[in-house]
Symmetry: C2
Subunit: 316 residues, 2 copies
């Protein structure tokens, strides 16, 4: 195991993606819809196919191994998927062992939030830092933590579930089953829900007009706010307030040098940036007040680049 | 620097304590009321006196150095106190340098929550673990985190402010200045406040009777609940609910093998234990549900033993 290239796989509930990665550069990529019905055996077959496709004619000895980014909870130490809410049949599945048997290669498995954090740390908005919190604000809120120059893993590699601390004693139920999590309040899904309620309450607004034409979600809020719609602006301000409070909590808990925000909702970062920082400063103890939030640098490639970095770091 | 003994100092807002420590054993101890009015210079003088007193006739070469436990925020990397709310005049004070100049010894400075976490990890309720969260529930809520077999420090050593994540968007104001922190809801101080309100609302209760005789605080709630007073029992149940929710959040964030609870409120742990675990299981994702809370093993010595362990670990 000595190559400078790595194969990265991003196992998602809807898309299975693979890439041949050189540092931050994705040299080749391939994707298929995840065969959710077929279960692990079918998906392993897909992985083999995608790996062959991205590996192409690359020198076998140059490829250090395979890094997999997958939804948690998973056990990174043993390379086992514990449970994937969106993919039935994967409970306690020893993915690393299986893929190692098939490919003969070194395989590492990491939570998708942590993979993206590593990607941003090595090659994105967190380069050169020793301490960072990466937060993806998307369908849910996930992320990963780099502290003291290392990935924070915790028991079974499950640390850094940054979307699942209690923000309110009641309020919306989170997909994780708990009431009032940061994710339940501030995810893109939660913003979309508030947008649909606002569209009904304000049929005269740009959001109201959009709702007559179809489904309204977080992206529409960002677009309408950018166009100056007051209802959308208020929603964005509320989202920024929620994110500012949540990020402030994470800064007290992990003491990062920087918070890196990724995920779909970051497309509206410029609209929220000032308010997020204002709310953070209001909610941080003085010694933490200079910590800022920056948008992610690698976009949807963060997880693939990070999974590859895990293999390449190990190879060093 | 090679000894197997260490001098530990616990700098508190009211008490300055020093001890000669051998592993978990406190061989000698001494204390003075902290000279808050005199400021750092006067306290340094106190430290020198206390160190001489606990060092006694111990073989100089056997003493590896001095570990100091102090209230945060402080910068452990540079050995600088940043700010102590209860002690004016200490802002940006280079305590390690000053004490090194005076004593000629190696000095390390650590947050009191982290020191106690290290004490419990090395010699208390967390021995042999790689991942733990220590939470002291007392006047405030503080603590420290061990993850992946190491102390979690973060930027400027300020990670692990476990009492300062947002639990409610409004509600009680925390001593840190922010509204709705875990500390503001669930500290011993907060429990005491609720107890005084309950004593007024229920003058016929045991708490009501106590309130007529003087000041009611968290200790009285524990004592009255133990005697079967229904009002005190309800307060204890509420406290357990708050702690259960807070601990569940910390488990998602750090993924410890165990949560260790210290501080004054832990005196009522047996009354709260079942409910804390019930609430945690309700608020944890399945993969985290087997994590339990245990009471601290070292009591008020945890910080001293931990500060000594930091020196002794460094000496190894």
């Amino acid at each position: 195991m000595s190559g400078r290239l790595a194969i990265a796989i991003d196992l998602g509930g809807t898309q299975l993606r693979a890439a041949l990665v050189d540092g931050a550069k994705v040299l080749r990529r391939a994707a298929e819809p995840t065969d959710a019905v077929g279960g692990p055996d079918a998906v392993l077959d897909q992985m083999r196919r995608l790996i062959a496709s991205v590996e192409g004619d690359a020198d076998h000895a140059q490829v250090a191994g395979i890094g997999i980014s997958a939804p948690g909870p998973l056990d990174g130490e043993t390379g086992t998927i514990l449970h994937i809410p969106t993919l039935p049949g994967w409970d306690d599945y020893p993915l690393c062992d299986r893929l190692r048997d098939i490919t003969g290669r070194t395989v590492v498995l990491e939570n998708d939030g942590i993979s993206a954090a590593v990607g941003e740390w090595r090659h994105g908005a967190g380069q050169g830092l020793d301490h960072l919190v990466y937060v993806t604000v998307s369908t849910g809120i996930g992320g990963g933590v780099i502290a003291d120059g290392r990935v924070l893993h915790g028991r079974r590699g499950m640390a850094g579930h940054v979307g699942h601390f209690t923000m309110t004693p009641d309020g919306p139920r989170c997909p994780c089953g708990v009431v009032g999590c940061f994710e339940a309040h501030a995810s893109g899904t939660a913003l979309g829900k508030r947008a649909r309620a606002a569209a009904i309450a304000h049929p005269e607004s740009a959001l109201g007009a959009l709702a007559r034409d179809g489904h309204v979600d977080a992206r529409h809020v960002v677009a309408a706010a950018r166009d100056g719609d007051a209802v959308a602006r208020a929603l964005i301000d509320e989202e920024a307030w929620l994110l500012g409070r949540g990020f402030a909590s994470l800064v007290h808990l992990y003491s990062p040098e920087r918070v890196i925000m990724g995920g779909g909702v970051v497309s509206g970062f410029d609209l929220m940036e000032a308010r997020i920082h204002h709310v953070m400063r209001e909610n941080l103890m003085p010694a933490f007040r200079d910590v800022v939030v920056v948008p992610a640098g690698l976009g949807e490639n963060a997880g693939l680049v990070g999974a590859a970095a895990l293999i390449l770091d190990q190879a060093l």
